[in-house]
Symmetry: C2
């Protein structure tokens, strides 16, 4: 088999055969197929697309490029959640313990932030001592003992994806529905989950700017899951303005704990319930969304959800006390209010720009090798629909170094659209796409 002949099939808009896909992924993983051939194929896939069955095989080949976690020792239907990435998205940190407290095991492997989006691992690492690097055996033990685990990707899970992901970043082959979907699903399938709830973000702060794009991605993800024999539900959720008030790392931990204490911002709380209800349905712990929401509410209001998180944080080496005593979390030395340039009503906030402002302060990464300052971030004080007077704080920037501060202020001012009159907002959850395993 000649690699250029495989590439030529996709170049000409054809469908790759299973044998060709497995040969390519295996060769790329072991290094016998060089980056330049993978780059050419990725571009051809990017432009020509993939058929559903072809994509299913491609994902399966990526999944089996490394080891697959065996979670069979953990009883119950293991349900994970994945978000396509937004600004202020701390949902995993309150959602996973809430769902686990309802009896659904949550084996969660998360990622790091890049560009305007944050990463769950970075947020968790603002808890002193907390370690996201856990071996696979420990990962299963944690889920058995605590009902959940919150770890980072290990070297041997879907290594083909890790290589291809890095290559796509520098070859303009990122925004491809089949390549995004197979990347997400190969990692999720490798972690040994039985069912998955996806939060597919739509809007200015999301990767997918339009509902049509997001729907195509959601349907593709659900279809891959179905073909792999897994139940997958995807929620299309709005990501125009930042989610909640906190954009950063330590401040997002505080906000996630607020949700578990019943005092989180409305949108963060609602999204936690919406995603959590779907997880309980998939996990067989509720018969309807209403029942699931009641069970979740009980787990939160009783304090069991927070206790579950505290138990896990301690088990992963973290300072569980810091979750409720916020003085133990990293705190920025300085803060600055960014005032409204005019009076009016907030018509829009470009979440991506707010995310970049946070990144400029050090809360995120411009490139993958950048270090994150967990203490800094943005607090969003005025949301879409809010009235503001001239000079009233729109956001507060928390920072340690002046570097990037001026540009961050500029980004914030550019992100806010202040006008007059009422603002109509769509629902947070736009739609739900459900799949059935085949």
């Amino acid at each position: 088999m000649r690699v250029q002949d495989i590439i030529a099939v996709k170049r000409d808009g054809g469908v790759l055969e299973e044998e060709q896909i497995r040969y390519f992924i295996a060769g790329y993983t072991d290094g016998s197929i060089p980056d330049y051939q993978a780059a050419a194929l990725a571009m051809a896939i990017m432009i020509r697309g993939m058929e559903p069955e072809e994509l299913s095989v491609w994902t399966d080949a990526m999944l089996h490029s490394g080891s697959v976690v065996d979670t069979s020792s953990i009883p119950g239907i293991k349900v994970d959640k994945h978000s396509t990435g937004g600004v202020g998205d701390k949902i995993s940190i309150c959602l996973a313990p809430a769902v686990a407290a309802c009896g659904v095991p949550v084996p969660m492997i998360s990622g790091r932030g890049l560009g305007h989006t944050g990463g769950t691992l970075d947020k968790l690492e603002s808890i002193p001592g907390f370690s996201v690097d856990q071996p696979v055996e420990r990962f299963c033990e944690l889920v058995l003992e605590h009902g959940l685990a919150l770890i980072g990707q290990t070297e041997d899970l879907a290594p083909a994806d890790r290589k291809l992901y890095a290559l796509r970043d520098v070859t303009a082959t990122v925004p491809s529905v089949p390549l995004i979907s197979s990347s997400i699903m190969s990692k999720k399938l490798a972690e040994g989950m039985d069912a998955l709830v996806l939060d597919v973000k739509v809007g200015a702060g999301a990767f997918m700017k339009t509902e049509a794009q997001a729907r195509e991605l959601a349907e593709t993800l659900v279809d891959i899951g179905s073909r792999a024999g897994k139940q997958v539900t995807a929620l299309l959720t709005r990501m125009d303005e930042p989610l909640g008030e906190a954009v950063g790392n330590a401040n997002e931990i505080v906000e996630a704990v607020d949700v578990l204490q019943g005092r989180g911002p409305e949108d963060v709380t609602e999204l936690t319930y919406a995603l959590g209800a779907e997880m309980l349905l998939l996990g067989g712990k509720a018969g309807s969304a209403e029942e699931a929401r009641e069970i979740l509410h009980e787990a939160i209001s009783s304090g069991r959800a927070l206790e579950t998180l505290q138990g896990l944080v301690a088990a992963q080496g973290g300072d569980a006390e810091a979750l409720v005593d916020h003085g133990r979390l990293p705190r920025a030395a300085h803060s600055l209010h960014v005032g409204a340039p005019a009076a009016g009503v907030v018509h829009a906030i470009d979440a991506a720009e707010v995310g970049i402002a946070g990144m400029l302060l050090g809360a995120g990464r411009r490139v993958a090798t950048d270090r994150v300052d967990h203490a800094v971030g943005v607090t969003v004080r005025r949301h879409v629909g809010d009235e503001v007077r001239e000079g009233e704080p729109l956001v507060t920037l928390s920072y340690n170094q002046e570097k990037g501060l001026t540009e961050a202020v500029g980004r914030i001012l550019g992100a806010y659209v202040i006008g007059s009159g009422e603002v109509e907002q769509g629902p947070l959850v736009i739609d739900v796409v459900r799949g059935e395993p085949r």
Copy 2:
């Protein structure tokens, strides 16, 4: 400027800006842009295409990736010829001296064979002692003294093309009209010619299988030339069956000399005149094609064309005597007739298969690093339209080693289509595309 942003423009079907093109080609040439980014861009160009002005800039950037030969010391309009590659195409070897003998300087830089097509350099190297590696200064001296030079590409001419050409071969990005055109024209423009005649082959033995494909390539090549201020004429010529009788190396030298002695095969002679007439027109040595043919005929029948070749061969270190005393050329140890499996009329000969048969005997290269045996080859004894009796030789294979012989025989038998009734053949020269410098 980020390379992935440049790639993204072409990925999305946009037009690259001059600044982006020059940045990319310069970076790829000096190694700061890696192969995988070039592979992604090549695939995007392959699928999306290029606008004429964009392609003109791309070609110019490739041309200026290295040095450009200064031929200003050579008086007259320097005219070169390039063929897109066929089987049995020894035309350069008789054409260049014939045209030079008519007073048109011919600065010719040729290539080597690969796959089913032969290369002028390999053919020339069957002349004992002949050296195709000449420094640029010597190249100009040869054209000044002998009216022509026949050399190989030097390291510093269009290095971007050399890198990209090798990359395209392994990334399925070869059959792209803009990439083929810019590769050809960047090299030709770098050698310092004033005008160019292109032999764009069409048919089973050619890269372009259909007239429409060949016409698109011809028009693109002519347009690039016009935009670069050069007069370019492209002939679309038939390449279904092999050109002439000899397919190999030393045997093709013999056939080229036959043309200069007025006894070459009809098709090789006709193509030499057709291309030569266009070169004389571009070189300002004739006012019409008829006049040009008369001048060429005089140069050949007087022996001046052969003397010109002999003078150049000696000047490039070769045994000029071998051109007329063929016992001095390499000769194969064995020969084998491949007989007609049935009586009838030859309806078609797949030139590519005949080329591969020659390659299998050692006359060509499967991969660029293979060594060529100059002595071996194929002699085509029955052409399209010829009647054959059962068992009569279709071709004679000349070989030194039995390796590849059986497969070569099979290829020959598969290449010949023998049927009954008359065969209609189109003209050798299908059309002429002329350009005017802008």
